[in-house]
């Protein structure tokens, strides 16, 4: 299980857009580097990340080798109902990670 965090505002107004911020701990190894012995370091990146809000998918990203280590992603979602924001991501080796936060819609 990979370490990651998600942040949403404490409370939001119905119909307003709010920011969802995600940070994931991952080396994002490009596959283009070599170690001190000259051996190629195999590629290892988080390539999929998706966000659901109250069970419905609202955001999806496919990441490539150009993204820095410990990727930070922020996006906006329109507040409808109080409910969970759930982030799920996986890397090219099948390792998975999850993080969630509750949105309180006033």
């Amino acid at each position: 299980m990979m370490l990651g965090r998600v942040q949403v505002p404490q409370s939001v107004k119905r119909g307003e857009a709010f920011e969802v911020r995600v940070i994931v701990q991952h080396p994002m190894e490009t596959g283009f580097r070599r170690d001190l012995q000259g051996q190629a370091i195999p590629v290892n990146i988080v390539d999929k990340l998706a966000c659901t809000y109250g069970g419905r998918e609202v955001f999806r990203a496919e990441l490539g080798t150009g993204i820095a280590a410990n990727p930070y992603i922020a996006f906006y979602v329109v507040a409808r109902e109080s409910g969970p924001i759930e982030i799920a991501w996986s890397d090219d080796r099948g390792q998975e990670g999850r993080a969630s936060a509750l949105v309180d819609v006033a």
Binding site: L3, R5, Q7, I23, Q25, A68, A69, N70
Partner: protein, 263 residues
């Protein structure tokens, strides 16, 4: 001839005694003193100030979990002995490196963590460098944020301080540079794309974008050794801790900003 040599030795001994006794003989520090982050770009400073986006937050979560996790043969966590980090560790990093009466040497925070892990917890040493060690060290450093650096160089710590001070002014490597040539004589000027800082360790452990990873002050100092093309000392070398003590004294009064972000 012999008489001459003796006279020189006697004169040198007098100088040493005078240097030890007289505080005003200590080297001048850069004026005005400026924190490490002040030499970083606006983007890097913004990242450091943002507790969520600062990548160190991930390692701090790890460190916080480790603080509370019972480990080793003793089955004790850091918290079992020290209590809550917010109280027990407040201001601790600002006072390190310091003389440790139990270990009978000057240690930095990382060495102190290793000693606790090995001794009190019976869990052996963390890897060095490792995510666990830098995470715990960063979590402890966070409790000193905003407090002034205030190491003690009196009593038994004095030997390490003098060693660190002499290292700071000693030319090393193929570039034949000492710390002082960049961080006293040329701070604020450009070195390729980088602005040379005053060399104050207030933001460490920090996330360094170049590494794409956090690291301890020791790792940062090794990068300077590499930069002047000098031989890298081993991790935990007493000389490196002596140098850390000198740097901490040099930064006295500046407020701690660890866990920082650096270019």
């Amino acid at each position: 001839m012999t008489h001459d040599v003796m006279r020189h030795v006697a004169a040198a001994a007098c100088c040493c005694a005078a240097a030890l006794a007289c505080a005003s003989d200590l080297p001048a520090r850069p004026q005005p003193p400026r924190n490490g982050s002040e030499f970083q770009s606006a983007e890097v400073r913004a990242l450091q100030a943002d507790d969520f986006a600062n990548p160190m937050s991930l390692w701090i979560s790890r460190g916080e979990a480790l603080w509370k996790e019972p480990r080793g043969a003793a089955g004790k966590s850091c918290e079992s002995c020290h209590g809550e980090a917010a109280n027990a560790m407040k201001g601790v990093t600002a006072r390190y490196p310091r003389w440790d009466p139990a270990l009978k040497r000057v240690v930095n925070v990382e060495e102190r963590i290793q000693a606790c892990s090995e001794g009190a917890q019976g869990a052996g040493r963390f890897g060095d460098p490792s995510d666990e060690l830098v995470g715990l060290s960063a979590y402890i450093a966070l409790q000193s944020r905003g407090l002034p650096m205030s190491v003690s160089i009196d009593g038994p710590a004095r030997g390490a301080f003098e060693r660190g001070r002499s290292l700071y002014f000693t030319r090393i490597g193929q570039m034949n540079l000492a710390c002082t040539h960049c961080h006293d004589a040329n701070w604020g000027r450009r070195l390729y794309a980088e602005t040379v800082s005053q060399g104050h360790p207030t933001g460490w452990p920090a996330y360094r974008n170049e590494w794409q990873h956090p690291g301890t002050l020791e790792r940062r100092l090794r990068a300077c050794f590499f930069g002047v093309r000098a031989e890298l000392p081993a991790y935990g070398d007493p000389d490196m801790i002596a140098l850390e003590l000198y740097l901490a004294w040099r930064a006295q009064g500046l407020s701690m900003e660890a866990p920082g972000v650096r270019r």
